[in-house]
Amino acid sequence: MSVIVKSATGEIYLFCKGADSSIFPRVIEGKVDQIRSRVERNAVEGLRTLCVAYKRLTQEEYGGVCQLLQAAKVALQDREKKLAEAYEQIEKDLILLGATAVEDRLQEKAADTIEALQKAGVKVWVLTGDKMETAAATCYACRLFRRDTQLLELTTKKIEEQTLHDVLLELSKTVLHYSGSLTRDNLSGLSTDMQDYGLIIDGAALSLIMKPREDGSSSNYRELFLDICRSCSAVLCCRMAPLQKAQIVKLIKFSKEHPITLAIGDGANDVSMILEAHVGIGVIGKEGRQAARNSDYAVPKFKHLKKMLLVHGHFYYVRISELVQYFFYKNVCFIFPQFLYQFFCGFSQQTLYDTAYLTLYNISFTSLPILLYSLMEQHVSIDVLKRDPSLYRDIAKNALLRWRVFIYWTFLGVFDALVFFFGAYFVFENTTVTSNGQIMTTNTHMVRRLWVCPFSVFLECITNKIFLENIFRCDSSVCFVSSSGSLPPLCSL
């Protein structure tokens, strides 16, 4: 990144800043070795480094530069490529000025947040544009890598020594022979004899892995890479260009298990990955609002992610899944008796319920309880959820909306419907319920009196179902008893 300035005396200078790996190749003068060692020392200490270089431009050179840039800017085709080429041409033969180092302190409670997320079963990856040493130091500081984490490197340095293929194979052998199907998350970090792996990958290495090859072997590399990643507890991707960050997110999204991805970032270089991930979170911070503007949710600090996921995310998931299951359940319960009644009315489409009930059932009778439930329900209190992040694993992999759970609810709906219908049928069959002998089993246009009592029973059972679910939490045997037991007491009204 460069800027061309004209001094008060009329001299034109080009100042360029960038990462050391991109500045040093363009430098022809300056104390390169000294500065290089200085930069490396800074990086190991966890400081973010930049190098600055300059060169002087004569008037003709400046004119040439202007022309080149102009031609590239107005190009109708391949504008990006032409601009990049122009920049390449301009930014060369620089004189090294020096290096800068910035201490980018970790936000408060960042380490705590990352640890909580890992305990919750969430895989945490760090995608950064920094140098490997800086990023590794930061990861140690925020406890993404522990002291006993064995770091595996898939960096340019290693790939220069061996081919990509060999490196991948070696890594996978190291990592996969330990796993079987047990990964560190399953044990939530409690076992001390399980070896902990962390992977460090470079932007250049990633582009090598992602590069499409003629023989189709790149897909194998991707699979291999993803297998390695899956067995590692944490992955650090350094020297990432913004587009590469999005690429990695996409790779994970479409991997075998189709996990849900969340990207959180605070700078403009994170925008592409925020947009790519399923959930994008922007941190409103020192680097401006670009990330927040492109995100689904914006938070002021990184630590807010913990409560957002572990508490609010958990609550919302439980509420929504119960809402969905309950809606199907109550409508099965409602319509199945109607279906059963057809067998007793000569299949003449006589409705079991009055039109008013048919219309108002979903609107007013059964809407408020589940509405309040799905707005307010706290199945576990907030402090318990914050204190124990591993509770988040209860809802991993869409646990409450799986087929098995849905079939349980549907079966319950059918069972309840059978109890309602046949209970009412046998209670009212052929008998009078009034003390003056007048028959109660009558209807006019629609069946009204016969089914009002069981309808109110049925309504109470449906609304109590939420209450019961809350207490008994899918304890199926108890639900069974309570559902069948609710008919007699309420019917004796």
Binding site: H312, C345, G346, Q378, I382, Y425, N430, G437, T442
Partner: protein, 353 residues
Amino acid sequence: MTWSATARGAQQPDNTAFTQQRLPAWQPLLSASIALPLFFCAGLAFIGLGLGLYYTSNSIKELEYDYTGSLDTGNCSACAEADQDGAPPPNCSCALNFSLPEFFQGPVYFYYELSNFYQNNRRYSVSCDNAQLSGFPSALRQPVNDCAPYQYGAAGLPIAPCGAIANSLFNDSFSLWHELPPSGPYVEVPLDRTGIAWWTDNHVKFRNPPLVNGSLALAFSGTAAPPSWPRPVYELSPDPNNTGFVNQDFVVWMRTAALPTFRKLYARIRQGNYSAGLPRGNYSVHVTYNYPVRAFHGRKLVVFSSISWMGGKNPFLGIAYLVVGSLCILTGFVMLVVYIRYQDQDDEDDSDD
């Protein structure tokens, strides 16, 4: 860019417990000491209630006699044979003899029961005109289209009351005769035919059209009786308070039943010598067999029943309570066993830590 914690921006949401998800919440944590007594108490309560309901139901007496007269049952078979080809000849009468071995506690309720008769068929059940039956003069001669084909009669006259429900009015009539002991003459048991319809039906829903010159027949001039009726509606009963649309038998019939096997109240036995109940002895029901049921393989029965606080005889609720109560107690026992067995295990684990 400053981020001030104290300045309240215009977009900042309210900081109330409701909006910030801080409402207090509580959840009962069920332990064995709560669940087990609950199950046992509930089970005992259900069993108690079930026993009460079951014994009450058992103490209700109910007698049914099928008088359809199909050839195997024997009664009224002559009328039944005539029915095979269509309606039986008018005023075909037969007698149904039965004997009561013991005193039948009153008041006794007399029902007729039909089976395989789908009064809940949708086209059938919408086939009536409520405005006409409410006695509005404007609606009397303009029956609604739902009544078709019982809307206009043969001569183009509007049918009152229109519709299939009215047309299929049950027209058997019964009288009950008691043989005075010993082997004396048969005495008629007085049947109280009043008060068999719902009060609201009789006084609110069904009303006769306003009388013309004091005569109900004139009020119905210009209308025709339903095709299957032998007499027009204003001649349903000699009693002027019980004729026309407010005739109790008619009103009881118009209140359609919900299931294909149903009963309708015909009379109460609570007058004279029989107000306390029916003494033991021989009885005979004289049936004027008019209603043809053979065509749809239906059956006709007369039912005598006594009533209790829970209505007629129905053991289902009692049995249901008993079953659920025993399931509760059974589940309670299973949980108790599990609890006792594994309680020690839990204690061991706790003491290890």
